[in-house]
Each structure stands twice: as structure tokens, then as C-alpha cells.
Subunit: 576 residues, 2 copies
Amino acid sequence: MDKILRVNMTDLTTKLETVPTEWAGLGGRGLTSTIVAAEVPADCHPLGPNNKLVFAPGLLTGTAAANSGRLSAGAKSPLTGGIKESNAGGTAAQMLARLGIKALIIEGLPKADKWYNLHVNKDGVTIQEETELLGKGNFAVIEDLEARLGKKTGVLTIGPAGELKMTAANISVKDPDSKIRSHGRGGLGAVMGSKKIKYISIDDAGAPGIKIADPEKFKVAARTFAKALLDHPVSGEGLPTYGTNVLVNILNEAGGLPTRNFTVGQFEAHDKISGETMHDTIVARGGKPKHGCHAGCIIQCSQVYNDKDGKYVTSGFEYETIWGLGADCCIDNLDDIARADNLMDDIGIDSIETAVMFGVAMEAGILPFGDSKEMLRLLTEEIGKGTPLGRILGGGAGSVGKAYGVTRVPVVKNQGIPAYDPRSVKGIGITYATSTMGADHTSGYTIATNILNVGGYVDPLKKDGQVELSRNLQIATAAVDSTGMCIFIAFPALDIPECLPALIDMINARFGINLTGDDVTNLGKHILKVEHQFNIEAGFTNKHDRLPEFFKTEPVAPHNAVWDFTDAEIDEFWNF
Amino acid sequence: MDKILRVNMTDLTTKLETVPTEWAGLGGRGLTSTIVAAEVPADCHPLGPNNKLVFAPGLLTGTAAANSGRLSAGAKSPLTGGIKESNAGGTAAQMLARLGIKALIIEGLPKADKWYNLHVNKDGVTIQEETELLGKGNFAVIEDLEARLGKKTGVLTIGPAGELKMTAANISVKDPDSKIRSHGRGGLGAVMGSKKIKYISIDDAGAPGIKIADPEKFKVAARTFAKALLDHPVSGEGLPTYGTNVLVNILNEAGGLPTRNFTVGQFEAHDKISGETMHDTIVARGGKPKHGCHAGCIIQCSQVYNDKDGKYVTSGFEYETIWGLGADCCIDNLDDIARADNLMDDIGIDSIETAVMFGVAMEAGILPFGDSKEMLRLLTEEIGKGTPLGRILGGGAGSVGKAYGVTRVPVVKNQGIPAYDPRSVKGIGITYATSTMGADHTSGYTIATNILNVGGYVDPLKKDGQVELSRNLQIATAAVDSTGMCIFIAFPALDIPECLPALIDMINARFGINLTGDDVTNLGKHILKVEHQFNIEAGFTNKHDRLPEFFKTEPVAPHNAVWDFTDAEIDEFWNF
């Protein structure tokens, strides 16, 4: 029987609750957003006693469905001030799902000035005082917990950034190789830090596991679904070979690779940081070009990146991070970027927000463009140690912009704009502007259709069709984010007719229900509306569904494109 | 003939314009807010090329009317993100008025990385490159300009804080004794800094002066008005004797003196920082207990505060500053507070925002409560020098709260809450919540009626009548702020029947018009609505007309009062 675990940090009590009927059909983002909207006052301080941190595996998580192992984390975001869902791979989602835990809700703030850890197992959740691992990086936490609790222990942890309540702090999730995946965006690590929880360990021994209502139907659908993933050129070939970093050269070619804090759309040294170069480097150094963030992943877009001596540096080394520290900061040294990626994992800070932030910090003159040594020093010595400068940087791009009076700050709702210039890839600009999450490429990844010709083609330089494209993708993504599926299943879902029905069949077979495609679309719409309403109650209006001023006034080479949507055109997004 | 001076910093040109008909009846706040609303896109970056900095003397400024020498400065605020008007004494207002300058509008941003100064005289305004005085404190700027341009030169200047575009930076105005008055609130110094203008010097030689349409009527009204000011116990006796700092003991007695970052409403050491103690100290040390911020002031609430050796320390030493560094930071040494006041004038940073900020910084653990030595060091070595910590502190209370994850941050619309606890003086809470300026006691000073029994009495601990009180005062204040009058004329205006008609008579006699009391009220309403509409377009909603969460949940001693207005009750404010 699925259950809700509730942890109250104010009186240090825990509760095991039955799942309310209205939450029964929800999982992942659908569930975290529903709980946050229902239980968190929209006007509360994100780091105060009234915010709640919610973890929820997806509807299919824990089953044999390919790529279904994502965990959603939700709260009111200290970065944006709005609702936040951020999902990650790693082992925790499947362990929680097998334990029958539909959601873990953490509320309140400790009265005493003490830190704690949580331990989840088949009997529920317990709270212990924590002293030993305070101040430690995430890798040390994982190492220590594996030594004490066994190699298989699940771990959700925050690094120094989260302890310091930096608004770019993330929550790290141990992956199958004891490396790190992240609930990266929106400062959820600061929320966990405000509740003074250093880590959550998970033991799924004796877990009841997942009951499938119609195992035969499930098996057939799962096979069709997996085949679609493997058959699609992006999920079956591009991503497994080059990782997400396949996009550097593609975006550079498209003139949409934001460079030098979004002043131009192409990076001269793109070849030095491209997915192709990275692949060859990995292979030459004995790393792994393919690697999954969770059991059951058949895309394997992650990798193991080694240094010259064949020593491990990082994994989960994503395009957005490489773009940000690379093109946007004009750093052409992939080894330094990899080292930074590892440091960010260890410190526990969002690598997208931090990369965008460094671009702004360079424009502010805090360090020169291209200075990777100083960038690494700032990560370890300032952000990692929580110096005053580290706190400014750890607050993300908006924080640096405010502290240094910078006007060219690429953020929406105070969240850094990732990796795709909205002037020359206009669909993603609509997503950045309107997403309930702040600037978030994953919330409606129009790059698929604007650039990769997936799901048809919408000219990235024209306004026509972009609002509709972003709307359809945002609706679909909200639903997909509720299943526990990786967002990359969208590629086959958009192109291969059998894929989406197979996904729905798996859900139906899992729960013994009869959802239609329309039901799934309606779920996506419902989630967006719940999130939007929360944001309205938190003080957001359509005036916040806007890109920063400079995108409207500064043409970006090579297309000399500007952001030219009228307010009324953007506001069309919410007409559904 | 009155004129508008327009300075374009982008192409370094100036223009002399005739006054548009619709601006003819406006002055001070009415004019700055009208110009900002008409010409500044509400969604622009406050430090970007599309913001404008507007100075306007009041309708009566430059005449012989008592206390009419205030200058309004307006822009989109980099602190609040909304519209801002901040008015100050000093000599500039009367000089501009006598020169027939109805408004000085500064727009654009220089293309080159150079700094400039402006010089205003009877022929208009000129732009010169500035190198010598960069980085200098405001006192050095005034000294240098007086040496070069003569003792009578008018000066508007920014200190290091404004050059660094800190969002708590103010604009300093030279007063008749070459000391400093400030356009304190909302970070207007950062706007001037963004336009790379270090100072504006004014020479009124050959000024046409003010033409009074009906000199005899003006004279009679001016006499009646001045008599009312002198007859009222607050403006005629309390303020001249003790300055605004007369309020320390009064608010302490009322339990509304926010202490230790708003945790209690009374300060044990109130006697050490009170107006009475200050008065005796000033007299004993050969300072001046009375001092005017501009020629024609007959209230003389300022003072000259000397140190033990009789050496000048500061003037314009206000209650809100002394409350903030005193009670709110638990500093009981008036000499240290005076020294800080002088430093803030020199650095060019708002003494209210900075005082509130220090309370939050102490709660964050940046320095201990009561540590005045460290407070002085932070002002000179960190804020004054623009170190990373200085930039966090120079961003005001909200900035420190964000960087250090503090939840008890007394701000509304990101502007620090001054000097009067809204839980135990509820009328002022309505003003803080609803003011278009962010938390601003001067925008609707209900303390008059809640505490000082001026204009009747409304029990400060009850909700009844507070919204109406705040509404009436905010409407009246918006009108008064347009006349160039000091806000303290409100005391006699509320109690002495002849006062307000005399004020209106002066305006009518000055311009040869026939305004009624209703016209003046309608002007106040109109100004508030123009400002409110700007804020709505900038993204504010009624959700921003709220006090921080902790006022609702933490009862404050001695009355154990909480902020208990419902949202709907607060929103009643805008029903006019």
C-alpha cells in the first residue's frame, strides 16, 4: 500500500499517512506541485517554517519501464520566489518507489541550532542529530554513508552551498556508480539547508516492490516503448555517443550558442569543447562515453570523463554546463570545465545557474572572461567556503547582477537562462518567459523542433508557431515529469507513433486504469495551471513572463536577431 | 519663463524645453512621478539606458513661504523596482527654482567608460568629463567645488556608494552650512552612478527669480502659514528643541521602538540615545540644537552634533538613523552613531536602509548586536571601499537577507522598514504595506495620529480606522510633497484650521489660480494613482502590499501585538 511519509522538523516527529484519494493518480512533478500548492502558503518565506520540501518518484518509477527512474523534488523556490519542481536521476527514486513511498514531505524548521539527517527504510523515516558530516562535500558524504550503511544505500544530500542556504544550492542524489546527479535548479538545496537536514539515507531492504495490475500488457508496452527509444536517432544514437554535449556544434552552427555572456551566438573555440571532441578525449583516456544516471536507462547520455592520467574527473557532464563555462565564459579548456563540474557537484551548487552566473561575474569584472583558473579558485575558495564574495556568487546570476549593478543579466524570474539564445531560437524564448519554473529549457524543450527537426520543424528565427510549440511541449513535459520518465523520451514520443501510446499503456497496466492521450494532456494542463496559480498568489503577473530588456535591444550575431515578441503575443501562451 | 532642462548622457547633449501644458500645474513629487511614469518604461532595468533621473523643486520652492525648499528626485528605483520619489532639503531646490527650472531630466547612459559632471546656470546645463573627484566622499566633493566655484555653489553629488551602484546609495545635497542632506531612499544614487554623473553643480547668478502673481495675497497667507508652524507644539517646540530624535522616548514608551532587529518594542538603553540626552549633549559640547536644512526653514529640526572636544561630527542627525543603529542594533553609544551618520553622508548611503540592514546583518552573525566599532569598520572598510561584503551590505536589508538566508528581514518591496513597529503602531503598518515607495514612514505618517495625538487620535493597537488614516495621510502627503514643503508642516496642517487654507492661498497667489482644498486632495489622489499604475506595470500586485511573514507570526513585547490585518482589509486602501 503506497504511503506518504511526513517529517516535521519543528517538533522532530514523523508520520506515515495513507495517500489521499486526490493524490492517488499523481506522481513526480504532478504530485510535488500539487502538495506544494495545497500545503505551502504562496506568500511564505522560502527558507522559513512554512515552506515544505517534497520528494516524489514518478508514476512508473520502480517498474521495469526504460528510463523511468527520475525523482521530483518540489518546494517554494528561494531563487525564483515561485513554485519549483526539479527532477533528477540517481538511485533514490526507485528505492523510494519500491518502498511504496509516494511522497516524502518535510516541513517546519528545527527550534534548536542543531543539524539532522533522515533515514528512510521499510518501516518509515527516522530523524537523527547530525554532527560529523557537517561542512563536508557531497562526495565525502556519499563515501561515508556507503562505508557505514553499505554500498547500496540511497543518498540525498546537500553540500556546503546548501548548508549556507545559497539560492543556487542543489540537492545531490547518489547514482548507481556512487557519483552525483542533481535536483539542480531553483535552490532546493537551500530549502533542505534551512530545515537543517544534511542528508537523507535510504535503505530499501524488505521493500514490498511495485505491483503491476496487468503484467502482460505492461511487458508488451515496455518493449514497444524501449524499442522507440533505441530507434530514434537522437535518443538511440546522438545522445548515447556524444552525450547532451552533442549540442555544442549544433547550436554553434545555428548561431544560438550564447557566448561571452550572451553577446554573440557563436563561440570561436566551439570545437575544443564540443561533444565530438569530448567523446574522443573520453575514449582516448579510458573513460566511459556511455553511462546511465539510473538503473534501466537505455539512453546512457552520461559518461565518465577522466583526466590526462586516466583518473576520474566527472560524470553527468552536460551540455548546459559545458556551454555555460565554455562559450558563455569563453573558456576553451574542457579539462578545466570538467574539474569545475566535479567541484560544483561536491559543493552542491547548480551547474547551470553557476555557469550563467560566471558569465555575469565576468561582465562585472570580478574575473576576466576565459580565466578558468580564477573560476576554479572562486568555486573552491569563495563559494565553497561561503566568503562574502562566495555568497554573492552562490546566489546565482541575478545576485551578482544586483551586487555589481550589471544590466545584462540573463535571467527570468531570477533564474539563469541556459544554453540557447532566445533571440535566435525563438521557441525556447517563449518557454523561458512563460515557464512556471523561471528560465528552464527542460520545461518545454523547443530545441527539438526548432533545431533538431524532431516533431516537425518550426523556423527558429521566425515568431510563427513558437507560442503554440512551447505550449504543447510545456503541457506534455509537465505530464512526462509526472511519470518518472527522463525528458529525452520526448524525442521518440514526438516522432515515433507507437511511443506515446506505449507510455500510456504502461501507466494503465501499472495501475489497472484506462487513461487516454487526452487524459494525459489534461494532466499536463492541470499541473501547469496549479503551478501558475501558486505563482500568481506569490505575486507573479504576466509582467514576469518576460525576457530581460537587453534581449529586445541588442541584436545577436550571426543572425542579428532580437527578441521581438510583443507582450500580447507572449501572453497567448496561457490561453488553454 | 519656466523650463525643462533635459540631459542626454548617451550622446552627451542637452536641451532646454518649454514646459508642456500638462506639467504646468505640477511640482516636486507630482512632477517627478508624472515624468517618470510618462517617459520611463516600467519594465526597464533601473540602471540601464531607459531609466531617467528627474529633479524637480516644489510649486512653492524659491518663494518666501516658510519651509518650502525641498527638492524631489525621481526615477525607477533599483532598490524596489518600482517608482521612486525621494525629497531632500539643501540649497539646490531654491537655486533651481529661482533659475526657472521646473525639472532637470537626465536620460541615457554614456557610451564611453568615462565619468561626467553637470553644471547648471542661467544659460542651461553643460556636461563636462570628470576625473578628479572620482572615488571621493561627498564632503570632499563639496569642499572642492566650493573652492573652485565659490561658497554659494549648489551641489548634488554621489559618494563611493553611488559610483558603485549600490542599491542603498543616496544623492547628497549641500545644505546652507556646506553639510549634507540626502535624497535618501530607494537607491537613486545608483541611478545617478549608472549615468556616470559624479556631481551636479549649480550657479544661480543672474537667475530670473520667482514671479508671484498676487504678492499681497501671498504675503498674508505666508504669514498665517508661518504662524501656524510656530504655534503647533510639535513643529514649534518639540522638533526645534530635540529634533526628530524626540521620538526615541515617545516610541519606547509606546512600545513601538523596534529593537534587536524587530524582536521587541522597547530598548533598555533608550535614555542613552534619546532626543533629550542628545539635546543636553549638544548644548554641553557647544553644538547647535537648532539648524535648518534650507533657507526659510522655521522649524529647525536639524542640529550640529559635536564630539567631546567640541569638534563637528554630524548634522541632520535624525530619529530614524538613531533608532536604527541604536535600538535596532542595540548600540547605546550616541557618539558612535553620530560618527556613523557622518560616514554614511560621506559614503553616500541611505542611513535608514543602512541602519535596518545592520540589524539584519547582526541577526545573520556578520557582526554582534551592539558592536559599534565593527559597524564603523564595515562602513569605512567594506561599504566605503566596495569590497564584496561591502556590496552585500550596500544593497540594503533585503540584500543581506538574501545573501545570508535570513528570514526575519523587515522590508516591504525590498525597502527597509523604519523606526516604528507596525505591529504596535498599526496605522504605519498600512502605510508601509501600501506605499508606492516601499516601506516609507514619510509617505503617510500615521505616527502623528497614532502616537502624537495630532489630527485626532486613532488607537495604535487596534485595526479600526487605520486604513482610512493611512489613506488620507498618503493622499495629503503626495500633494504636500509637490509643493516643496517639508513634511512637518503636516502637524499644524492637521490641527490648526488656518494652516492648510493658507498653504493653498500661497499656491494660488504664486500662480494666479484658484485651487480649492478638493483640488489639492484630487492632486494627491492622482499622484498616488499614477505611481500605483507604474508599479503595476513594473510587475507589482496587491501581493506586494504586504508586510513580511514574521510580523504576522511573532508577537512583539510589550503589547504582544502581531500584524493582524487580513489581505482584504489592506487592499481596502486603494478604494479611492
